[in-house]
Symmetry: C2
DNA sequence: TTCTCTACTGTGAACGCTCACAGACAGCGT
DNA sequence: ACGCTGTCTGTGAGCGTTCACAGTAGAGAA
């Protein structure tokens, strides 16, 4: 009846337009938009019809201005570029987190902090309150970013166990120690006794725990721990190759090797092939992660599956809870042995 | 003098606080924030000092509410998950785009549209105006998303030449045809004559152009085009392996193969090894992209370098220009032959 | 009846910023 | 003296939403 927007208007409909269309007030529309408590079924229906008719979508900026929330979260990766480029695990994590957030209608802001400059810029951005929380992926030991964000009171969930044990920071991790135990038991069951290990960096709990699981099972089985059979890498393919090479030099009689990531295991396979060792006939190889790299490898890697989809969804769940005011939480997820051709 | 925020206040400082601190008005602070035109040096200085002192950062939501801009852009990938997981090119592109945007203080929203549902949800999100523009990566032929966004008037830049030629859509691409020519000339210079090709999908300009370059150079050189030496894949490793296998079956005398992506070339290497062909002694292999996959491959791949860093920065430049009101633009970047061990 | 309680609805006031406008002041030509 | 231009500054309005509050109506109890 009144002048409707028949003209060439380009301005999107506001909550006001919806209210007018539905014959209710702004407040009622807002209530329908946010859960629909204390609103009659008839109003509910009228508003929904008006929303459909006008094609209304909420203006997130106006909402954020008053609520103080941004309804977005950051995905922060504090790794050098090369690591991001070579390790498909990041993609899996990124993809699963994006999807888990999408279910809550929350966009993910990608933050890549490979250098010190970027780290500073991003820290400033986050502490300025431009995101409600942060999903942090970092294999650094005492990552200063995590500390700064915690101090600033930014909700934060880390992927993998963080170094500072006392600090009250949320994290979600796979059961590294248990996974390592499973793998070493499996290698023992294949009759191997001279089992080497290329561990992860030993300044990270993940690296330490996998090594601990390895030693624990060997000791239980009465196999002597030989330090010549242990080296550590940094999860990169190159470090796996170098590590395995060193192992072969130090302990030529090695008949199996447990490598703390699939990517490093790929490197180890390269080193073994170059040394003329057949896999799995001469040397069994066990990986960790069950990433794309495991199935791509030749032969396909026996590995410990980390449930990345569950890790991601738990990270998102814990982060949203924390944004909602709950206390930090730690979640440890079970792993699973996946047998393929390398053992 | 007046009550300052000595208490336990948690509210971040606003433009008002800065104005009071600097002894100027909100308008002047705003002008300093947005380029500083029409503001005296003394005021300029006072405002900057006040900003430093108060630790002020602009509230982007309040700004966006009035400007109508979100000052953020989406990075949209319309590829199945598996492709995202296995191809490091996406990571390189993602990383470079994030950095290029960071220079303009613009956050990147990651949008992964692997399924039809996600595609719909994301299209709705974008057309609702929640981002100012979109960087689109898609190897689909007639991607409906691109069409929808274009119709909705969303600034859009595509990575790689899009299918619909007439449509006025911005894109940035490497010179596929020229790159292919370089590679085939190189293979000819190595004395090869029975050169096979595993092309990309032929419903995309990228796939078509590389094949065209291949045929062009062979014809020029007086080498007959043999259809048994041509198959096409979808850029995945698996399709490269299968394609090369088919080639070996159809043309056992093949002495070189030009594969339209490094990832497919990795697959081709696998197929060749299984067939007992030595690379490069029996068969030369040429890739395309110069991705991480090229250096990881054994032997390291001779390939055509796509300048991903420049592609990304150009995509961002063109997108921002378009957001600023300029017309769509097309940018073609030169490629470069990188010689390694596979030829 | 009257009072209370619950379910529901409308209204003004923010949120923090930018924009358009008006005004002040200086310099300069007429 | 006047107007003009250009530089600089302050002010009010308004962006679209949520929130707190006040208010209405109907049901049920006293």
């Amino acid at each position: 009846m009144t002048m409707s927007n028949t003209g060439g208007r380009r301005r999107p409909p506001t909550i006001h337009d919806v209210a007018r269309e539905a014959g209710v007030s702004r407040g009622t529309v807002s209530r329908v938009l946010n859960g629909g408590h204390y609103v009659s079924p008839s109003a509910q229906e009228a508003v929904n019809a008006a929303i459909r008719k006008t094609g209304y979508v909420v203006n997130r900026h106006a909402r954020s201005l008053i609520t103080g929330r941004s309804d977005s979260v950051g995905f922060l990766l504090t790794e050098p570029q090369e690591r991001f480029f070579e390790d498909p695990n990041f993609n899996v994590l990124l993809s699963a987190c994006t999807q888990a957030l999408a279910a809550h209608d929350i966009p993910l802001l990608l933050m890549l902090a490979g250098t010190e400059d970027e780290r500073r810029r991003i820290t400033r951005y986050i502490t300025a309150g431009h995101v409600d929380g942060v999903l942090l992926v970092s294999s650094h030991s005492g990552d200063p970013v995590a500390e700064q964000l915690r101090e600033a009171g930014v909700p934060l969930v880390q992927c993998g166990k963080p170094m500072g044990l006392g600090s009250k920071v949320s994290y979600v991790a796979a059961d590294d120690r248990d996974g390592a135990r499973d793998m070493v038991r499996h290698l023992l069951s294949r009759g191997r006794r001279r089992i080497g290990m290329v561990s992860g960096p030993l300044d990270t709990p993940g690296g330490v725990d996998r090594l601990a699981g390895y030693k624990e099972v060997l000791t239980e089985a009465g196999v002597e721990i030989d330090e010549r059979l242990i080296v550590s890498g940094d999860y990169s393919r190159a470090s796996g190759e170098a590590g395995c090479e060193r192992l072969l030099a130090q302990a030529p009689d090695m008949d199996a090797v447990f490598v703390a990531s699939d990517l490093m295991a790929q490197g180890a396979l390269t080193a073994l092939r170059r040394a003329g060792r057949r896999v799995p006939e001469d040397v069994s190889v066990g990986g960790f992660d069950d990433s794309v790299a495991a199935t791509e490898a030749i032969p396909a890697l026996t590995t410990i599956r980390q449930p990345y989809d569950r890790i991601s969804s738990e990270m998102v769940r814990v982060l949203l809870a924390q944004i909602g005011g709950e206390d930090p939480a730690a979640v440890i997820l079970p792993t699973e042995l996946v047998k393929r051709d390398s053992t």
